[in-house]
């Protein structure tokens, strides 16, 4: 795959959702959209304008929003219910558990403003635990697209999928890595770069940082395999396993607590299938975020390319010592 890493276009994954939602609505008249007073922030405005009778604003009431969505789904609608990830799946978690997952209601839960890169709003609005609390729910698919185009495809795939979906999206304009024609298959991890020394599994817009790290490492003759994990659940163990059986060396990258997130998911699956390789986890290390610009926060919380490079070298030296 070719990546324009030096000067990429910048578009937000939440914008991709807005485009995908409209397209899904045009394709299927059963698609409806709900929000909890966050129409523009979650980019549902275009859908609202086009389909005013299929758009519902439930006000600042996330629990009701999710359960109402479930009711709509049980009546053959395909509801996309959006809010900030801290509020939904945060505040609405139990409703997701019962109304959506236990009943297998065809609801698509959309959480935007995930991660520290939500920025100046600060810790209260930066969801760092939403992967942990969703991937543990039975029947729920969890997707975190890496860029704008992938977000469009993920939204369309969510609409097609029969069953609950959680879609994790970000506020910030981030690097466009893929294109409109890049393949996307729900549940299939993507190898963005082939390599032999180390496996780097990343999710969401941080995959761009992983690609930058790969270039740096390449300059030092370290060959990294970059896997973009857009579908966190169900986990594509086969692809990851094949990679680590080759490299025996793993860095996981996520804008999320390392406890319970993608790193945990990968390592827990690997440990049961094979043996967990020497691993470093890039992610939030059991703290909350804070106000700042996205760029500053990526540096401060060690989520950027140089941090990934450092983690890669650390884990490589451990591998060599074994």
């Amino acid at each position: 795959m070719n990546f324009n890493l030096q000067n990429p276009d910048l578009k937000a994954t939440r914008e991709g959702y807005g485009v995908g939602l409209l397209a899904a609505g045009l394709k299927n008249s059963n698609v409806v959209a709900l929000t909890a007073d966050l129409t523009e922030s979650t980019k549902a405005t275009a859908f609202k304008t086009k389909f005013p009778n299929r758009f519902f604003n439930l006000g600042v009431a996330e629990q009701n929003m999710i359960s109402v969505a479930a009711g709509l789904a049980l009546c053959n609608k395909i509801p996309f219910a959006s809010s900030f990830a801290v509020f939904s799946p945060g505040r609405s978690w139990e409703q997701i558990r019962l109304c959506v997952c236990y009943q297998q209601a065809n609801v698509k839960i959309v959480g935007t403003h995930a991660g520290v890169t939500t920025g100046p709003d600060g810790a209260t609005h930066q969801a760092l635990e939403d992967i942990a609390i969703t991937r543990c729910l039975p029947n729920l698919i969890v997707i975190s697209p890496c860029d704008y185009y992938q977000a469009i495809k993920a939204t369309l795939a969510a609409a097609e999928h029969q069953g609950p979906v959680y879609l994790r999206l970000f506020r910030d304009k981030t690097a466009v890595i893929t294109s409109a024609s890049t393949e996307f298959t729900l549940g299939k991890a993507q190898i963005f770069r082939k390599g032999t020394d180390i496996t780097i599994v990343s999710t969401g817009p941080l995959t761009y940082q992983a690609l930058l790290a790969e270039e740096s490492l390449q300059k030092e003759n370290i060959s990294s395999e970059i896997i973009n994990l857009h579908t966190i659940k169900p986990l594509d163990l086969a692809t990851i396993l094949k990679s680590v059986q080759k490299t025996h060396c793993l860095v996981t990258v996520e804008e999320h607590q390392i406890m319970g997130g993608v790193g945990s998911a990968v390592v827990e699956a690997l440990a049961q299938a094979y043996a967990a390789p020497v691993t470093e986890m890039i992610g939030i290390k059991d703290t909350f975020g804070e106000s700042g610009t996205a760029a500053e926060l990526l540096v401060k919380y060690h989520l950027d390319a140089p941090s990934i490079v450092k983690a890669a070298k650390k884990v490589l030296s451990r591998k060599r010592r074994l």
Binding site: Q63, N64, V68, A70, C75
Partner: protein, 276 residues
């Protein structure tokens, strides 16, 4: 299509049969909730045997009225009503709460035809009912959505979120029936979280509010049929009931909210119910 529209005498007999089955089911199960089911038995009987438009042989009939149980813990009553209405065989009632049973401790939609939703955690049923009512409105359908609720349930904030939204969307096809039995798990509602003035609260949320004696079969029937008349307001029916109704030593005691009768109590209860 009704399952057989029963007259008042037949309804009275049916409610008695359902109460008797309830006591037997709960004793056999060894755990569950007693006061709520006994208290709401008259209303469920009127619903399934007079007011609801439904077809037990076709639980998915698109034009059916929907009944959603938001206070999911009183599901033994719903199961009994469904069985008596012909959704499944009455023998199955004795499997309540057992491993592998379709009659789960709290309603599991996927397990049992006739259940519209899963519920248990309070306030989620009413929100789902709002979703049902909204879908019907979008699709220009004319069936009604009934949602049974507990009064203790009204403590949950989500309930009021649902009430506000239902009013906003003018869901005149939605009828909430609140079991105003004045008890919740830890004591009376007015001790734990006072609800009065309840009628005023509901009216201030722009719902049409009706009140009934939850044990007067004729009043229940007439009021629920009245509630079906479409307006642009959702309807709340405050049903004054006696928790544990029908068994003298169970009536009006919050202790009977979450326990079931033992062998001796079961025999006493059945003896009283047979006299009804």
């Amino acid at each position: 299509m009704f399952t057989g529209q029963l007259d008042l005498n037949q309804l009275k007999l049916k409610a008695k049969e359902i109460r008797i089955d309830l006591i037997k089911m709960l004793n056999k199960a060894g755990s569950g909730h007693t006061a709520g089911p006994l208290g709401m038995a008259d209303i469920l009987t009127v619903l399934y045997f007079s007011v609801l438009n439904h077809d037990p042989k076709n639980p998915g009939w698109p034009e059916r009225d929907r009944l959603i149980l938001s206070n999911g813990h009183i599901c033994p009553l719903l199961y009994a009503a469904l069985a008596h209405a012909g959704y499944f065989r009455k023998e199955e009632l004795m499997t309540l709460r057992r491993l592998g049973s379709r009659l789960q401790g709290h309603p599991s939609r996927l397990d049992l035809p006739g259940l519209e939703t899963s519920s248990g955690p309070l306030a989620q049923g009413i929100s789902q009912a709002v979703g049902f009512a909204l879908a019907a409105k979008i699709d220009k359908q004319h069936h009604h959505i009934f949602c049974l609720m507990g009064d203790g349930e009204l403590d949950e904030g989500q309930v009021w979120e649902a009430f506000m939204f239902a009013s906003k969307e003018k869901l005149g096809n939605l009828i909430a029936i609140i079991d105003r039995n004045q008890i919740q798990l830890d004591g009376t509602t007015e001790e734990i979280m006072p609800l009065e003035p309840l009628k005023d609260k509901l009216a201030s949320f722009n719902w049409q509010v009706l009140e009934i004696d939850g044990h007067n079969l004729e009043e229940i029937m007439v009021t629920l049929m009245q509630a079906k008349v479409p307006t642009d307001k959702p309807v709340a029916v405050i049903a004054h009931t006696i928790p544990g109704k029908g068994v003298s030593f169970m009536e009006c005691k919050s202790a009977w909210h979450g326990i079931v009768p033992d062998e001796a109590q079961t025999q006493l209860a059945l003896k009283e119910l047979e006299q009804l």
